[in-house]
Amino acid sequence: MNSFFARRYVITGIFVALCLVLLVRLFYMQIMDDKYLLASKSNVVRRYIVYPARGPILDRHGKIMVQNVPVFDITVLPREVKPFDTTLFCKLLGIDKEGFDKRFNKAVKYSPYLQSVFEKQVPLNVWASFQERLPEFPGFDVQRRTMRTYPDSTAAQFLGYIGEVTDRDIEKSGGFYRPGDYIGRSGVERAYEDLLRGQRGVRNVLVDSRNVQKGSFANGAFDTSAVAGERLISSLDSKLQKLGEQLMKNKVGSIVAIEPSTGEILAFVSSPTYDPNIMVEKGKGNVISAMYNDPYSPFLVRPIQAYYSPGSSFKPLDALIALQEGIITPQTTFFCPHYYQAGNHRVGCEHFDGVTDLRKGISQSCNTYFCNVFDRLINAHGPKNTATTYGAWREKVNNFGFGVKLDVDLPHERRGLVPTPLYYDNRFGKNHWRSSSVISLAIGQGELLATPLQMANIECTIANRGFYFKPHLIKAIGDKNVIKKEFTEKHYVGVDSNYFHPVIDGMQDVVDHGTAADSRIPGIVMCGKTGTVQNPHGKNHSVFVGFAPRDNPKIAIAVVVENAGYGASWAAPIASFMVEKYLKDSITRRPSGIDLHRYMNANLLPPTPAQIKAQKQRQDSLRRLMKDTSRKRTDTLEKPRVQLKSAGNNNRRDTMAKLYAARLKRREDAE
């Protein structure tokens, strides 16, 4: 037909070839390459995490100690914001125009298409009035979150607090936590994190190109629902806890009360304390850093982290071990000449007790008696075997939970200290130490260190006549009230129950007519032991340990008030109020006339370093003033003399405070 007829094949060939190019490319994209499918999924599917409610914590009577409250964040989606009455908006939220612009620009900068938080944690009343007018502010919304709240504001150190996870937490958890998650940082919140946090859910939502939600992905086939965290029932009695905190207000120290028949901790006071609610409030950063710098270390969990020499409260233990070993009998007597001669030095005794048996030794807290007992104990196998005998003694002490961790269910428990024979070998040289070298251990001084929890635990053991349950703070877990098995096992300390009676007799005497007679509670037989713990850094610590009632004891207690002086004057009355409150739910007038409110209101805080400095300056200027006045006006000598006296007082206080500060610092360093 045409001379170029053959060209139809060229053209056809080009058509076919180029269509094949398209098909090859499509084959590669649609069949071979998976990346587009993944990209299309990530385009439209947004994974939202559904946060479970964190488990609440109740006290032993079911009163709520921690729960979740809704808080309201105001969010903004800049793309959807339309002109509105900014003046009204600012007035409702209580912010100014500048603040509004700042927040809004931040949100726009983050993304015009994504929702971001405009204002965090608005108060309930603000939320209410804002919610009402929300339709007037297109693009703004209110998002509900939950926050921890503490209705009683008590037991801060026990409960602990939660905080946003750090990068390290995320790494350590192997990616379980995600940025923005909360994790228990201290206390029960940390110890029981696994149970409290619950299980996160996932919601897969479809979104369009403008990030507008379009319903659930695959009808929710890949969604999981959140499982709320377990409810924890604490062993604490919140009334008792509250009283303890009131009593310890403006004092440094702690109270631990345990139910001997279960090991459940009834009160766990660490003073000074803080209101746990401030840890969740807005702008908490400043408050927390201020608390970290507080010289009284409110974050220190004193019941399990503060070290004290047990002092006289250790004496019953001496006696029990000696009785079990057969070193003494209840009738064994020693003569107390007001001191105990240990080698070439003397251990003083507060009283001239004369002939002293066990009961009297305990009730009068006779140092001489217990030094003798200890001396016999350590020399039981001859002076040459001091180290091994001491080692055996140490193990018996360890059995009481002294110098070992009690594994309480809180993080960072400290073990205390009962030195090993090796320690003394290093200090004195091998075989160069005898019972006299370590005689101060007999009266709970020297190297011996214990936490208030350990002291209270010994009282449990005595109250139970020979065993204790692991002290613990969480009594039951979840709706089924599961009790951890380890908390139901008896720990025998290796002293037969019949040996406890004479010791308990002595301890009853302490309260009935001994050192703690002022603290006797009408109608309750309390057994106890006061301790006035020598404190090389300042005023003695006041210690009382005990349990009540004598038969079928319901509460064992240890109270330590730092720098307060005699055990009988502060710790014992405080303990007695606690015991009475727990057993009778009210506090009656004491025959001795001691008054609850005096103890609540007393301020025994040692001065802080800043106060010390100020005092020193005042003192210096006074001194200068005095010099000047004495030079110029010799006729008015009377007044400077008075000031001199007070300056001297200040001076003494000053040294003590300095030492206290040094101790605090050391303790913090050790943390």
């Binding site: 037909m1 045409n2 001379s3 170029f4 007829f5 060209r7 139809r8 060229v10 053209i11 056809t12 080009i14 058509f15 076919v16 180029l18 269509c19 190019v21 398209l22 098909l23 490319r25 499509l26 084959f27 994209m29 649609q30 069949i31 390459d33 990346k35 587009y36 499918l37 990209a39 299309s40 999924k41 385009n43 439209v44 479809l206 979104v207 369009d208 190109s209 403008r210 379009k214």
Partner: protein
């Protein structure tokens, strides 16, 4: 009278039903995919002016009516009035520059009530007709410069006017008519040179100029050495080299000064010179995601997530292939391209069976334009040609486009149905 009535009766029998069927299949596929692309549960009605698919159905019905009208017209009508139609479109193309409405940067539409007419779409038809008319004239040899320039002018005038809108896509469509000229005797060198120019352009943008020139020179010298006894070859290679090198130098200039910013960006994205998936590369990237995520069988009708949640812009018009690729998968892509190829081959076959050169040339024009649209449109959605806004024939949403292809096709069907009759150009 008798022969006339026999002609009338024979008319429907002579219609190439296969082409008509393919046409109907394509518009049906088009409608369903537009439906899917813009489906809005708030407007479930299928016909009406609220939704694009409602409108498209109206357009399709109008298109079918148009096709029947064309089939009822006399063949001579198209031949006789070719020049007049052409003149009308040229006037419209000038008018659109003055009174047209600017949509999306292109002054391509003349508003007619609620409907907007796009003269450039119809210019394809009339240019084809006039080109066929001219080339089928006596003593016209495309190999002669005079004829070649005249043919070039017929194609070039509407191109220039469309370029002024400026609608690059529609302008480039006219380039496809080179196949027609080739079929009618244009030297194959034109095709080869065009292919080489495109290759050189891409290579220049991709590689360092210096290395490119060096390798070209080495290649050239190699060829010269191989054919050193053929003076003509040596001469041609030398000229070719000189032109290529000067072209390479001019590419930077063309790229820097002639092309517009958005055109440069599209080329850059295609060649992978920029990867800005958020802004400039967003369309193509989302389009590729839509098509690639279809896998073998697709996500199913109305189930495409890219489509449903409007990740791809211009989903119902230029990027309609995304919906097909996503919801019907490779199976759908293969079927669609298969249908197009089948139609193209059918058109070539129809063209070749014409006795009249007019019909043949026109047939090739239709095939070339259709081919160019399909290649460029699908190519851009899968990222192998730069984004040029031209619709997918008979599938993309839009009345002007649908009707211009309907007219284009059915004039050929009409010419073909009458191929046995003696038709000579007036």
């Amino acid at each position: 009278m008798r022969s006339s009535s026999a002609n009338q009766r024979g008319f429907f029998f002579n219609v190439d039903w296969l082409t008509v069927l393919l046409y109907l299949i394509l518009v049906t596929i088009g409608w369903f995919n537009i439906h899917s692309a813009v489906f809005d549960p708030k407007h479930p009605e299928v016909i009406g002016f609220d939704t694009n698919y409602g409108k498209q159905l109206v357009y399709i019905i109008a298109g079918v009516v148009l096709a029947i009208v064309i089939l009822l017209l006399d063949n001579r009508f198209f031949i006789a009035f070719a020049s007049i139609f052409y003149a009308i479109t040229i006037i419209l193309l000038i008018a659109v520059l003055i009174v047209g409405r600017n949509v999306g940067g292109n002054q391509a539409w003349i508003p007619l009530g609620s409907f907007r007419l796009q003269p450039s779409e119809f210019a394809k038809v009339t240019t084809c007709l006039l080109l066929a008319r001219y080339l089928s004239g006596p003593n016209i040899r495309i190999t002669e410069w005079k004829s070649f320039l005249a043919a070039g002018a017929i194609i070039g005038v509407p191109m220039m006017l469309i370029m002024l809108q400026p609608d690059t896509g529609s302008t480039l469509v006219f380039c496809s008519l080179i196949f027609v000229l080739y079929r009618e005797g244009l030297s194959p060198w034109f095709l080869i040179v065009i292919a080489l120019i495109i290759a050189l352009f891409v290579l220049t943008l991709l590689f360092n100029q210096l290395y490119l020139i060096l390798s070209l020179v080495v290649l050239g010298l190699l060829v010269i050495w191989m054919f050193k006894h053929y003076r003509q070859v040596v001469f041609a290679v030398l000229i070719g080299l000189a032109i290529s090198i000067s072209f390479i130098f001019s590419v930077k200039y063309i790229y820097g000064h002639v092309l517009k910013q958005h055109q440069k960006e599209r080329i850059d994205i295609l060649l992978g010179l920029t990867t800005d998936l958020k802004k400039k590369g967003y369309n193509v990237n989302q389009s590729k995601i839509a098509i690639g995520s279809g896998k073998l069988w697709g996500k199913g009708y109305l189930q495409g997530t890219q489509t449903r949640y409007s990740f791809v812009p211009a989903q119902s018009t230029d990027f309609i292939f995304c919906t097909i690729g996503e919801e019907w998968g490779f199976a759908g892509s293969l079927t669609l391209i298969g249908i197009y190829l089948f139609l193209l081959l059918r058109l070539v076959a129809i063209a070749e069976r014409q006795r009249s050169p007019f019909s043949r040339i026109y047939g090739y024009g239709v095939a070339s334009i259709l081919f160019f649209h399909v290649m460029i449109n699908i190519g851009m959605t899968i990222g192998i040609v730069p984004v040029i806004g031209i619709p997918l024939p008979l599938i993309s949403y839009g009345g002007s486009s649908l009707w211009s292809f309907t007219i284009l096709l059915f004039i050929l069907v009409k010419l073909d149905s009458n191929r046995m009759g003696t038709i000579s150009p007036a």
